[in-house]
Symmetry: C2
Subunit: 520 residues, 2 copies
C-alpha cells in the first residue's frame, strides 16, 4: 500500500475517546429498564431477540480472549477502517491472544469463507485512512435460509464470538435476521451492527447520524464552495450540481446549510417536475434583473423519485418494462422528457429489473427543460449551464476528525457488545454534537428501527430509510433562510477539511446534527 | 461577503517572505549586466522597451506616494487576491497616501473606466482567500490601437504610476504592447505583468511556474486520490478523469506524479487516437488477467488537439466549417467518431468560429471507442466506465500556502517595479522550490518570453505557450515509472490541502517544480 505524506501523519492521529473508554477494563453494558413496544407482526419474526437496549456504564465484566469477524457491506463510507481499529484495540487490550478476522469483498466473503486473520501491522497501516480497501466491500445479501445456514456454519467453523456487520439499512436488517437465526439454531456467535452510510438515511431516535456522512459532505461542500467562488468571479455560469445520496436529500440539505447555494432542491418536498422547472426559471429571470446571469443550484440524486408524475411513470415502467403498455398519461410525461432521459429511463436497469435511478442524469434533465422554458418565456439574459455530479469523490476520502473519533468509538463499542454477549443490536453513540468525552454509548435492538414495508406486494420487516423530515430543525431552518439566498449571494466556501490546528475547525460536526440537537 | 470559519482563520495567515522583503524601505531593482539577445523581428515591434532584466537587491530607492491600478484577466487562479494584498501592503508601507485602484470585470474595467478605489478593509477581507471576486475578471483584450489609446487616456486621467496586469500568456503579451505604446506616447504609467494561470503553460527560463497551478492541482489530486481509494475498495469501475488545462498537459502530469494513476495520457506525446484506444484497451485486458476490472485514467483537456488525425480534421473543420467540403480522409476520421462527438465537433464554436475544444467530451470519446474496441477483442471481463471532469473546482479554491506566499511576493515585487520605474516587464520569483526566505526576485522583460507565431497566416509576436517538455525531468521521471503503475496499484491519496501544522505538508511545492530543480 502506498501512502501519501498526509496519510502518514493521519495514521498517527489518536482518536478522542468518550470518558468511559479511558478504562476499557472497567466498562460493561447494562440492560435498560425501560422497554420499547414492538409491533406484534414484527415481534413474531424475531421471537428470540432481546428488546431492551443496553447502556454502557462503568463496572466489571468478564475479560477474555475473543475472536471477532467483520465485513464491510455496500458503498464505502469514510471511517470504516477506524471501526476495525477500535475493535482490534479493545480486544487486544483485553487479551493479546484475541483474533480479528476480516471477511473479504463484503458479505460474500463470509458466505464463501474468504477471510484473512489480520495482524497489528495491517490494522495500524489504515488507522484514520479512508476507503474500505483493507477488506474490500460488496453488495451481496445474506437473506435466504440457505445463506444464513452457510453464514452460521462458517461462524461456527471459525469459532467466532462475534460478527460485526458494518453497513447501511439493508445490511443491518439482515444482521437482525441473522442474529435471530443464530439464536434459534444454537450458534453462539453474536451479531452486531454498525451504522454506515454517507447518504445519512440510516437514522433513528438512537442513531443520530451514520458514520461517513460528515466526511463526505465536507468534501462535497469543499467542491461546491470552490465552484461558488468561481461563479462569483466569472459571473457567467449556472452550475447545476447533483449530489449522491440515494433517495433521501440529507447530503444536499447538509451541503446547502454549509454553503448557501442560490437554490437547493429537497426531494422530500415532492414538487412536480414542472414546478421545479418553473422555480429554476423564475430564479434565473429574477437574478437577471439583478444583473446576475450566474448561480449555483444543488440537486439531490433521488429528486425524480419524489416528483409525483415521475414516480407514477417510473412505477409503471418498472411494472411493464415497455413503452407500449404505458397509460396515456404516463406516455405523455415520457415523451415530454428530453430524448436522452427517455433513453435512460428505458434502458438503465438495476439487477432487479428496476430503473437504475442513480444513472438518470437529473442535472441534464433540468438543464434541458429550463432551457426550453426560458426560450418559451423569451428570456433576454444569458443562460450558460454547467453540470456536475459529486459522489465517488466523497465516499472514500480521508475521514474527518469527527468520523475518525466516531468510528473508533463504534468499533470499541461493538467489541464490548460481543464480549458482553449482546446480539441483534446496533451500536449507538449519542450526544454526538457535544465534545467526545461527553458522548453516550448504547447498544440498541435493531428491531427498534424496523417497520413493515410493502416489497413486491408483501409486508416485510425492514429498517426504515430515514428521509429528510419536513418538521425537524435542519429543514425548517433551511426553509427559513432559503428565500434570502436566491438573489443575494451568501455563498460560503468551507474549504478543504482541516485535521490540525484549531479544534472548532478540525473537530466540527455536521450542521444537521447540531440543529437537530436544538429544541425546535 | 460571507466567509466560512476556515476562511476567517486563513485571513490571519501571514505570508512568508523572501528575506529581502523584511525591510521594504531598503530594497531596489538593479539592472542586470548580462543582456539577452532578441530577434530583430520582435525587437522591431518593441523599439522602446528595455531588454535587460532587473534584480532585486538591498539598497535605497526614492520612496513616494504611489497610485497603482490592477485588473485580473482571464480564468481565475487561486492567489490572485494576495497579489493585490502584496501591492497594497508595499505601497502603504512607503506612504499611507498611496492608492490602489481596482479595475472591475477584467481588462474591460480599464477600457470602460469601471474602477473602485479600494480600502484597507476590503483588501484585508480577501487576504489568502480564493477567487477573483474582489474585482471580478474577464476575457476582453487590449490589442487594437483604439483600445490602447483608450487605456492610456484612463491611466492618464487616473494619474496612475503603474498598471499591474494579472494574467496569462495573452494578457502579458498585451501588457508588453501596452508598455511600448505608453512609452511611445509619453504616458508615464508603468505596465507590469504577473504570471497567472492554473494551466501551468506560462513558463520560461525565468518564470518557474505561474501562480494558481499549485493550489488547483492539489484540489484535483485530492479528488483523484479519493476516487482511487474508491476504485480500490469497490473494484468495479474504470474512472476516466478529464482535467482542465487548455492545450498543455501540465496539470495532468503534476496530478499523475502526485497520485500514480494506472494511466495518464500526456497530449504532447502526440499519439494517434487509435494508439490511445489500443493502449487503454490493452491496459484493461492486462488488468483483467490480474483480476482487476477497475482502474483510474487521467486525460488532459487538450488531448485531442495533439492527436495527428484529429488535429488534421479540426484544422479542416475550422477552415471550411462544413462537412461536405472535408477531404475523404478527414471525412472518414469524422464518421468513425461517436455521434455525440461528431455533433460537438460540428456545433461547438468559440467566438472566433473555431471549434471550442474544451467543450469536446474527450473522456466520453475514449469510453465509447474503448468499449467498441473491447467488444471487437471479445473481452471477457467487465468494463464499467465512469467519466469525471475536474476544472471549476480548482480555479477558485483557497490558495495553498505556496500560492499564498508566492502571490504576496509577486504583489510586493510588482509594487517595487512601479516605484522603480520599470515597465514592460513581468514579475519573476525564482528558486521557488526552496524555502521562501531564499527566493530570488527579478523583473524580466516580457519580450524575453515572446516568440513569433503564425496566427491567421501572419507572424505575430506572442508569449509562447509552454507545453510539457519531453526532455525535462518531470516527464522523464513519469515516463520511467509509468509502466510500473499499470498493473500494480500504487495509488496515492494526497488528501485535502492542509494549511496548519507540519510544514513539510502545509508548505509543499508542486512536484513538477521540485523535479525541474534537479539536475537531469
Amino acid at each position: 500500500m502506498h501512502v501519501s505524506l498526509l496519510e502518514k501523519k493521519r495514521r498517527e492521529y489518536q482518536p478522542k475517546l468518550p470518558s468511559l473508554f479511558n478504562d476499557l477494563l472497567n466498562v460493561c453494558l447494562k440492560k435498560e429498564k425501560q422497554d420499547v413496544p414492538i409491533l406484534d407482526e414484527i415481534r413474531k419474526q424475531f421471537p428470540k431477540l432481546e428488546t431492551s437496549a443496553y447502556k454502557l456504564v462503568s463496572g466489571k465484566s468478564a475479560i477474555r480472549n475473543l475472536r471477532i469477524g467483520a465485513f464491510f457491506s455496500g458503498g464505502q463510507a469514510p471511517g470504516g477502517h477506524n471501526v476495525i481499529a477500535g475493535i482490534w484495540d479493545a480486544i487486544q487490550k483485553w487479551d493479546k491472544q484475541s483474533t480479528f478476522i476480516g471477511f473479504l469483498g463484503g458479505p460474500s466473503g463470509l458466505l464463501e469463507n474468504q477471510h484473512r486473520i489480520l495482524s497489528y501491522e495491517e490494522i495500524d497501516h489504515v488507522r484514520n485512512l479512508g476507503g474500505f480497501d483493507l477488506l474490500g466491500s460488496g453488495r451481496a445479501k445474506i437473506e435466504t435460509e440457505e445463506q444464513m445456514q452457510k453464514a452460521m456454519s462458517i461462524c461456527n467453523e471459525l469459532n467466532l464470538d462475534g460478527l460485526v456487520v458494518i453497513g447501511g439499512d439493508d445490511s443491518n436488517t439482515n444482521a437482525a435476521f441473522l442474529a435471530e437465526y443464530f439464536l434459534t439454531h444454537g450458534c453462539s456467535t453474536k451479531v452486531v451492527g454498525v451504522p454506515k452510510t454517507i447518504d445519512g438515511d440510516l437514522q433513528s431516535v438512537d442513531i443520530e447520524i451514520p458514520f461517513g456522512f460528515d466526511s463526505a459532505t465536507k468534501v462535497y461542500s469543499e467542491m461546491i464552495g470552490n465552484i461558488m467562488k468561481d461563479a462569483l468571479s466569472s459571473r457567467k455560469y449556472y452550475h447545476f450540481i447533483k449530489l449522491m445520496g440515494r433517495s433521501a436529500s440529507h447530503i444536499t440539505l447538509e451541503c446547502a446549510l454549509s454553503t448557501h447555494p442560490n437554490l437547493a432542491l429537497i426531494g422530500e418536498e415532492k414538487k412536480t417536475l414542472s414546478e421545479i422547472v418553473d422555480e429554476i426559471a423564475n430564479l434565473i429571470e429574477e437574478r437577471h434583473t439583478h444583473k446576475k446571469d450566474f448561480g449555483v443550484i444543488l440537486i439531490p440524486e433521488g429528486l425524480i423519485e419524489f416528483m409525483p408524475e415521475m414516480k407514477e411513470l417510473i412505477r409503471e415502467l418498472n411494472q411493464n418494462q415497455s413503452v407500449d403498455k404505458l397509460s396515456e398519461k404516463n406516455k405523455k410525461v415520457l415523451i415530454n422528457l428530453p430524448e436522452k432521459i427517455q433513453k435512460q429511463l428505458l434502458s438503465e436497469r438495476d439487477p432487479h429489473g428496476n430503473i437504475a435511478l442513480s444513472q438518470i442524469e437529473t442535472e441534464y434533465l433540468l438543464i434541458e427543460l429550463v432551457t426550453k422554458e426560458l426560450q418559451k418565456r423569451e428570456f433576454s439574459g444569458k443562460f450558460n449551464p454547467l453540470a456536475h455530479f459529486f459522489g465517488y469523490e466523497g465516499r472514500s476520502c480521508l475521514p474527518s476528525n469527527f468520523d475518525a473519533n466516531y468510528c473508533y468509538s463504534l468499533g470499541i463499542l461493538a467489541a464490548i457488545a460481543v464480549r458482553d454477549g449482546i446480539t441483534g443490536m446496533i451500536c449507538s453513540v449519542q450526544h454526538l454534537f457535544q465534545k467526545v468525552e461527553k458522548w453516550h454509548l448504547k447498544m440498541v435492538p435493531i428491531i427498534h428501527l424496523i417497520h413493515l414495508e410493502e416489497r413486491k406486494g408483501k409486508k416485510k420487516p425492514v429498517i426504515q430509510k430515514t428521509l429528510v423530515s419536513m418538521i425537524q430543525n435542519p429543514f425548517l431552518y433551511f426553509k427559513s433562510i432559503r428565500d434570502s439566498l436566491r438573489l443575494d449571494d451568501q455563498y460560503k466556501s468551507t474549504g478543504p477539511m482541516q485535521f490540525f490546528g484549531d479544534e472548532d475547525l478540525a473537530d466540527s460536526v455536521p450542521k444537521t446534527l447540531k440543529m437537530k440537537s436544538l429544541k425546535s
